[in-house]
Amino acid sequence: MSLATVSTPSSAADQSAAGTWQVPRFVRRLIVPVSLLVIWQVLASYGIINRRFSSSPVDIIAALWKLAVNGQLFDSLWISLVRAFLGLALGGSLGLLAGLVAGLSRLGEDALDSTIQAIRTLPFLGLVPLFILWFGLGETPRILLVALGTFFPIYLNVFKGIRGVEERLIELGRSYGLNRWELIRDIILPAALPNALVGLRYSLGIAWLVLVIAEQINATSGLGWLIIKASELAQTSVIMMVLAVYALIGILADAIVRLIETRALRWQRSFQGA
């Protein structure tokens, strides 16, 4: 007979042990990225990485500092954030709406899904000249490009989320006399939420990505402009700095969505990784 003896400490001891020995989660999550940064810096300091190809983290921070001091960074960051936010708000809510319509009714699916799937594959970059034609030169085409880019992940995930809701629960709602809106609010949306949040996370990333393209149209502001200008003028450290800012914002945005996730999905008892 094969036996295993498990001895679990008492709860109090367990918790104090956790306090003393365990590294907090967010620190553990930082270990790898921070180590990568350190290695990079060391390689750069010893000249193993050519400065022309990439600046060292220290150079990047210096560039950051310089642009932060003269205010250019924050201005650019702010305007980009505003654009990303507006585009995301627009694209996200339309995506949610379209996902709901297509997800909830077959008629909606037949009407929307194939059209959206076709549009989805249109490349943004090809659309830039057309967007200028159609929407002019102001903020409109930029925000619309972001909206277009963020629309799809939300749409796809909401649609799929809704179609993944178990028939059993829909039956439940029907037999308890939920009207259409209550069915959506109480059953379909909560069930689709985990998927919708994945869509949101992805949209956040896309919003940034599209901005760089959108801010090429004509702009003297925004991170996208900053990076393009720096590229054309061969300012490697500025390029890398902007990339670093993007990354930071990305991590931040992601952390926010994670927070929403853990709050909104408190009820879940799913696999947490071994």
Binding site: R168, L169, E171, S175, Y176, I187
Partner: protein
């Protein structure tokens, strides 16, 4: 006996086929207003399918069906919404002031002895607790038609007794029409006005339970009906562990349905 003429629920010549399997055939059924109808039958004979048709949840059924719109249902699985707290699940679909709803939910949960778990997430409930929440959810509203699919299967003897009494009291008080699926012959006899025995997708027999209420297990009428019913289900009253002496495979009273269909 309730008046069948004013009946709320009626099925005429209803059948249900999944793919090529005919699961229900030629069901003719009327449930009188205020009648307590119990369905018994072997596992897989079509009880839940019938219940869902009567609940208007099965669009694939053929035949004529008249359903009651104002109904509550306890499914065979408890079907709690995992993202709503226990008490929120209880008042699902009820409209009104939140505090008032909570009050009603707590009262219903108290009835099923689950007051303490009112603010728990459904996924942390035990099997019997989840089933009790589902019962509370059905009982917190007063529907015309109450559909219960093996509602007490996961409950211990005491809780089960209590729940049986509660359902009986409620049904009597509000004159609810009730359709009740169970495997427990005693339960059926204690509660039913009429018992349908379903076999391989057909109503094989109907028992009118003419016993006075409250009913007593020791009653002669009870005992003889019990024997009849058990026989209908293929079990002799004496079947105990003695049966273990027989060869393990018994003649199949619960024939797979294919056989029945092929025989047609």
């Amino acid at each position: 006996m309730p008046n069948l003429a004013s009946s709320g629920v009626a099925l005429r010549n209803v059948s249900r086929t999944f793919g090529t399997r005919r699961v229900l055939s030629d069901i003719d059924l009327e449930i009188g207003e205020g009648e307590f109808l119990v369905i018994v039958g072997a596992s897989g004979c079509g009880k839940s399918t019938l219940l869902k048709i009567i609940a208007g949840l099965d669009r694939g059924a053929e035949g004529e069906i008249r359903i009651e719109e104002n109904r509550s249902i306890v499914f065979q699985d408890s079907r709690l919404l995992p993202w709503k707290l226990v008490w929120e699940n209880v008042v699902l679909g009820l409209r009104g002031n939140r505090a008032e709803l909570r009050r009603r939910a707590l009262a219903a949960l108290d009835e099923v002895n689950l007051l303490a778990r009112a603010d728990a997430w459904p996924l942390t409930l035990s099997g019997g607790e989840a089933q009790r929440v589902a019962i509370a959810r059905a009982l917190v509203r007063t529907p015309k038609l109450l559909l219960l699919d093996e509602p007490f299967a996961a409950l211990d003897a005491l809780t089960r007794l209590k729940m049986q009494q509660q359902v009986a009291a409620l049904v009597e008080q509000h004159r609810l029409t009730t359709l009740f699926v169970t495997h427990d012959v005693d339960e059926a006899l204690l509660l039913a006005d009429r018992i349908l025995l379903v076999e391989a997708g057909r109503i094989a027999r109907t028992f009118d339970v003419g016993l006075n209420r409250p009913r007593n297990r020791a009653d002669a009428g009870f005992i003889s009906l019990r024997r009849e019913l058990l026989e209908g289900l293929g079990v002799s009253e004496e079947d105990g562990f003695a049966a273990a002496a027989q060869p393990p495979k018994q003649p199949r009273q619960t024939r797979p349905l294919e056989v029945a269909v092929a025989a047609e």
